[in-house]
């Protein structure tokens, strides 16, 4: 299912993978695996298979990523049926889809229930979507890229409100991060795009991850670096996003596997 990770994964990486499993966070471990696979993806087909594995790990019916580039061209990866994506394009549903209307020129994540489905075209659109197996619930993350790029990362599922509340409560933050990581990867495939330098970790971020990696507590790391634990938290948060990781353990593992951190 997963493309192989980068070569040269060192012993430190395995050590962290064991740690994650021992915390019995199977979902977290599976997510970390998806992100590692995402990072290694070199092809558009690879992105499609990542989308499919996201559904599996979150146990949801659908996930999709829709990207409008600076030239106005659309790209789509997702698990909706061929018939539905075709109908969506043919009927030019972006004009009436409340998800697109509600997310365009916004940056906050959107629970589909908050959108305006009350107009007749929106209701008809919704009925058509349901006929094609799109879930009655959804959660979308608008992403603003450079040069007017706009992307939408969505998940969708069939369930009642209580179940969806619980799902969002547990997963929204991870989904927000995954959406942004997916977008970052997708941008690499934009034609004529100069390859973007991976954002390097700052010396302080490297120090923080290295010390955490060798088992220091946050308090010990802060003391060693003569910074407050609050400052440390910001370093970890920004390092995590640069590394495309969902949590600190995964961030350390990523830094180790990229050779940025030696432990």
């Amino acid at each position: 299912m997963f493309p192989r990770g980068p070569e040269g994964t060192c012993a430190g990486m395995h050590c962290f993978e064991r740690k994650v499993t021992s915390e019995a966070m199977t979902t977290k471990a599976a997510l970390d695996k998806i992100l590692t696979a995402l990072d290694a993806t070199q092809t558009l087909e690879g992105l499609q298979s990542i989308i499919e594995s996201i559904c599996k790990v979150f146990a949801i019916d659908h996930a999709m990523y829709h990207w409008v580039d600076s030239a106005g061209d659309h790209y789509y990866f997702g698990t909706y049926s061929e018939a539905w994506t075709q109908q969506y394009q043919e009927k030019n549903y972006t004009r009436i889809d409340p998800v697109v209307i509600g997310c365009y020129q916004r940056f906050h994540p959107v629970d589909w229930r908050r959108l305006d489905w009350s107009t007749k075209p929106a209701r008809e659109f919704f009925d058509a979507a349901m006929e094609h197996g799109v879930g009655n619930q959804g959660y979308s993350i608008p992403i603003r890229g450079p040069n007017g790029q706009f992307a939408l990362f969505s998940v969708s599922h069939h369930c009642d409100d209580a179940a969806w509340d619980k799902f969002c409560d547990q997963n929204s933050r991870d989904l927000i991060l995954i959406g942004h990581y997916f977008n970052r990867k997708a941008l690499e495939f934009e034609p004529d795009r100069a390859p973007e330098q991976a954002q390097p970790l700052s010396p302080r971020e490297l120090d923080a991850l290295t010390l955490l990696g060798i088992g220091y507590s946050r308090a010990q790391v802060a003391k060693t670096l003569s910074i407050s634990e609050h400052t440390l938290r910001v370093y970890i948060e920004s390092a995590r996003f640069k590394l495309g990781a969902l949590n600190t353990t995964h961030a350390i593992a990523r830094a180790v596997s990229c050779g940025m951190v030696i432990i």
Binding site: R173, H230, S238
Partner: protein, 213 residues
């Protein structure tokens, strides 16, 4: 009442928007003496207002601005990274889970609980939209104000001395703070949620989506 409005939708609220930018000129130029740009209409705007930020605005009964603040995600251009690198130590803050809050402003005519209401709005965003952190730069006088409102940031770093001392702070969502701020602002969580839902739509009402049943 509290309104949550993206910049691109401000044109539908001309009076509210104009009075906000005028009150910002009054606060930041006239009262605080900051070097901000005020245009011929008396409005204070900067380049971040052109990036379609999200404003939280306290609307007074007469429809005018009583107080406001401005949010942008730190994944794009934000003041803390562009202007205050002495406070970030050269480590830009960049995460979709951290939004920057700037231009916290109160009208001279604002009632006593407007600052509290705005603080509650910040927590409402965090709670409803899964944004665990805000970052912001503020001067010394704000430290006491945040404390009295019931929602203090963790100070990441400070620079300067005396009146010119400024700090970079990080706010973290906390359910207790939400209750505390609501109580001090004398706004019930139910009312606050209702205002939020009027701007963002409701996730709990009988949604038309379920008419399919």
């Amino acid at each position: 009442m509290l309104r949550y409005i993206y910049a691109r939708d401000l044109n539908t609220q001309a009076d509210l928007a104009h009075s906000m930018f005028v009150d910002r000129a009054d606060q930041f130029q006239t009262r605080l003496g900051w070097e901000v740009h005020v245009d011929s209409r008396g409005e204070e705007r900067d380049q971040y207002d052109a990036l379609n930020p999200l404003y939280v605005i306290w609307e007074m009964p007469d429809g005018r601005h009583g107080g406001s603040m401005r949010f942008l995600p730190t994944t794009g251009p934000v003041m803390v990274n562009d202007v205050f690198d002495n406070l970030t130590g050269g480590n830009p803050i960049c995460s979709p889970l951290i939004w920057e809050c700037t231009r916290f402003c109160l009208s001279r005519e604002a009632g006593g609980n407007v600052a509290g209401a705005l603080t509650l709005a910040g927590l409402e965003i965090m709670r409803n939209l899964s944004i665990p952190h805000f970052a912001g730069v503020f001067d010394r006088r704000m430290v006491r104000i945040y404390r009295s409102l019931g929602f203090s940031p963790e100070i990441i770093k400070s620079a300067g001395v005396g009146r010119d001392r400024i700090s970079l702070g990080l706010w973290e969502y906390d359910a207790q703070a939400y209750q505390r701020v609501a109580q001090r602002a004398q706004i019930t969580p139910e009312m606050s949620q209702l205002w939020f839902d009027r701007s963002f739509g409701s996730a709990t009402r009988e949604a038309p989506m379920r008419l399919t049943a």
